[in-house]
């Protein structure tokens, strides 16, 4: 019972720290100009930095189409081995 109570106090403390960091510290950090700039730039480019797999990335289909149109260029220029 004593050990469980000690554990519960630790858990409670951790929850308070998490709530404090996520609700107070991180929102302030996101207002730092360099951080803000990075977040806004990712938003503007439609980037989801936490995409684990290529299918999780929202702009992947557009990137694929764009790259494919260059690889399949009618001139076959992409594949030519010299300038």
């Amino acid at each position: 019972m004593m050990i469980w109570r000690r554990g519960a106090i630790r858990l409670l403390f951790a929850i308070v720290v998490i709530v404090g960091v996520w609700l107070l510290v991180l929102p302030s950090v996101s207002n730092i100009p360099s951080v803000r700039e990075r977040i806004d730039s990712n938003h503007a480019a439609g980037i989801n930095p936490t995409a684990v797999f290529y299918t999780d990335h929202p702009g992947m289909a557009d990137i694929e189409r764009s790259v494919q149109s260059r690889v399949d260029s009618p001139t076959g220029w992409f594949w030519k081995r010299s300038h």
Partner: protein
């Protein structure tokens, strides 16, 4: 069906009371075994997704298909010497995207959701386009509860106990998504996997994981089902997305780095656990979290080994996504070579795109495409690891090399489901625009969301079943970190050399074509 215990179904108790990322139920009938159930459940989800997309396809599908073909032909016939070439291409690409969007029907997409991004008020994570996502979240929970309770019943366990536990595990997964959705955390790539494991660890290492919660900590089953669904996203047709240069950077360098790092870990660092060595080598060389999950399941790694490998990957990704774009810019290596270098080395797709964007638009496109081609490798890697593991690493009872029958018994069968789904969807994808649209509807509309939830549930379960002491023990020698650092250094050098060779020496026009507006 035989009642004899199948060696692959039996848990091998490991030291310190932890078990492996492998089947964890007592010997049972074949249909009660995790691997087969995961394959069945994965197939069911894919079939329901395909059927719902097909049933709700647009009435004018034939016209849209025709229009798409016309745009595709126009795109191929564009005159690259024309003054309006760039603008025309952009317009046609947009038309193509619009048509594909109209053709792909995703009726289940809005019902399979997860919390979004937020800044200061976490409640905003539960709204999308000013609309509450709470009802769809409840639906997501209900669907998963029904599916997994059904499998619990098939396995002869209590569905009621599972339901109570699942409510707890799902809630922790939800909190992990909310923590990962805070914009600073999200844009510095600290993914949900990290918070899911940490939340689980926090509970298990303070008050201990309650029994009622343990009923739903089915790590292996969530992972295996998630991997079968991931198979639908491993489309081999994407291999040629960047032509031969892409294949060389992704499919030649990556296996070399993977094998070399593993051998380095075995023979130089002498890492005691082969599975830890392999999971770190794969997650560093292939594609981070997804590769770690697939390899860990294939080589039956300990849960702590999987979460340690993911932790290492996330930490180094945060560093690399800031440092690499800086090096590309100051060294003047160019957007194409730089993009290929970033794509071949940074672990996760999102981080690759974000790092590429810091260099330029072309770098972002090349980096993301190289990473996409590398992602496809995980199907082959998981299968190869599974074969290698059961054939050469796991000892047989008499200490001799196992027979073919024994190899088959031990083989993690879910990898066959993973590869089978991948091959089937790749075939479908190759059947013209209709097949491509159906695959995209299934993946984007259903399986991707379910797979993300399953991995998150698995990571929460890992945390709930793990002990901090295990991590301390594994990290005490510093060898996992050294392995990651050495492997990544080799990866950085080889990827750069291959990108330079391909885009500067062998196909110099490819770089020019990619840069052109």
């Amino acid at each position: 069906m035989s009642q004899q215990p199948n060696p692959s179904d039996v848990v091998e108790p490991l030291e310190n009371g932890t078990d492996t990322v492998d089947a964890s139920f007592p010997p049972q009938r074949w249909y009660r075994v995790d691997d087969f159930l995961a394959m069945g459940l994965g197939a069911l989800i894919i079939m329901v997704a395909a059927a719902s997309s097909w049933a709700t396809r647009p009435g004018n599908l034939a016209e849209l298909t025709q229009a798409h073909q016309t745009v595709k032909t126009e795109l191929k016939q564009l005159d690259s010497s024309s003054e309006n070439f760039s603008a025309d291409r952009k317009q046609l690409l947009k038309q193509q995207a619009d048509l594909e969007g109209q053709m792909a029907s995703m009726p289940l997409k809005s019902w399979l959701v997860r919390p979004g991004e937020w800044k200061g008020d976490p409640r905003t994570a539960f709204a999308k386009n000013d609309k509450s996502i709470v009802p769809p979240l409840v639906a997501t929970f209900a669907v998963m509860l029904i599916l997994f309770s059904a499998t619990t019943i098939v396995q002869g366990q209590s569905a009621v106990k599972f339901a109570f536990g699942f409510l707890g595990v799902f809630s922790l997964a939800l909190v992990s998504y909310v923590l990962a959705g805070q914009e600073v955390i999200k844009h510095y790539n600290l993914e949900y996997a990290l918070w899911a494991v940490l939340l689980g660890l926090l509970i298990s290492n303070t008050i201990g994981t309650p029994k009622w919660l343990s009923a739903a900590t089915r790590t292996e089953f969530y992972i295996k089902t998630g991997l079968v669904l991931l198979g639908a996203e491993v489309l081999f047709n994407k291999l040629l997305a960047l032509g031969l240069p892409g294949i060389f950077v992704s499919w030649v360098v990556t296996p070399i780095v993977l094998v070399t790092t593993y051998l380095f870990g075995q023979y130089v660092l002498k890492i005691p656990s082969k599975s830890l060595n392999l999971v770190i080598s794969a997650d560093m060389s292939v594609c981070g979290v997804s590769a770690a999950v697939a390899t860990a399941a294939a080589c039956k790694a300990k849960k702590e080994e999987l979460s340690l490998a993911i932790g290492l990957s996330l930490i180094f990704t945060v560093i690399m996504m800031v440092v690499q774009p800086f090096i590309v810019r100051v060294s003047g290596m160019g957007e194409v070579i730089g993009g290929a270098w970033i794509g071949g080395t940074i672990d996760s797709t999102g981080a690759v795109a974000a790092a590429g964007e810091l260099v330029g638009n072309t770098a972002k496109d090349v980096a993301a495409t190289v990473k996409m081609i590398q992602n496809i490798l995980i199907g082959v890697v998981a299968f190869a690891v599974a074969v290698y593991w059961v054939s050469f690493v796991e000892p047989s009872a008499d200490g001799k090399r196992p027979s073919v029958i024994e190899i088959w018994h031990r083989f993690p069968k879910f990898t066959l489901g993973f590869l089978g789904v991948s091959l089937a969807m790749s075939f479908l994808q190759s059947q013209g625009i209709e097949g491509k649209t159906l695959v995209s509807s299934v993946v984007d509309g259903t399986t991707k969301s379910v797979r993300e939830w399953l991995f998150c549930l698995a990571f929460v379960s890992i945390g709930l079943e793990s002990n901090f002491r295990e991590y301390r023990k594994m990290l005490a020698s510093g060898k996992p970190v050294i392995l990651y650092l050495c492997g990544q250094t080799l990866n950085l050098v080889l990827s750069f050399l291959m990108a330079w060779l391909m885009f500067e020496k062998i196909f110099p026009n490819a770089a020019n074509e990619l840069i052109s507006k």
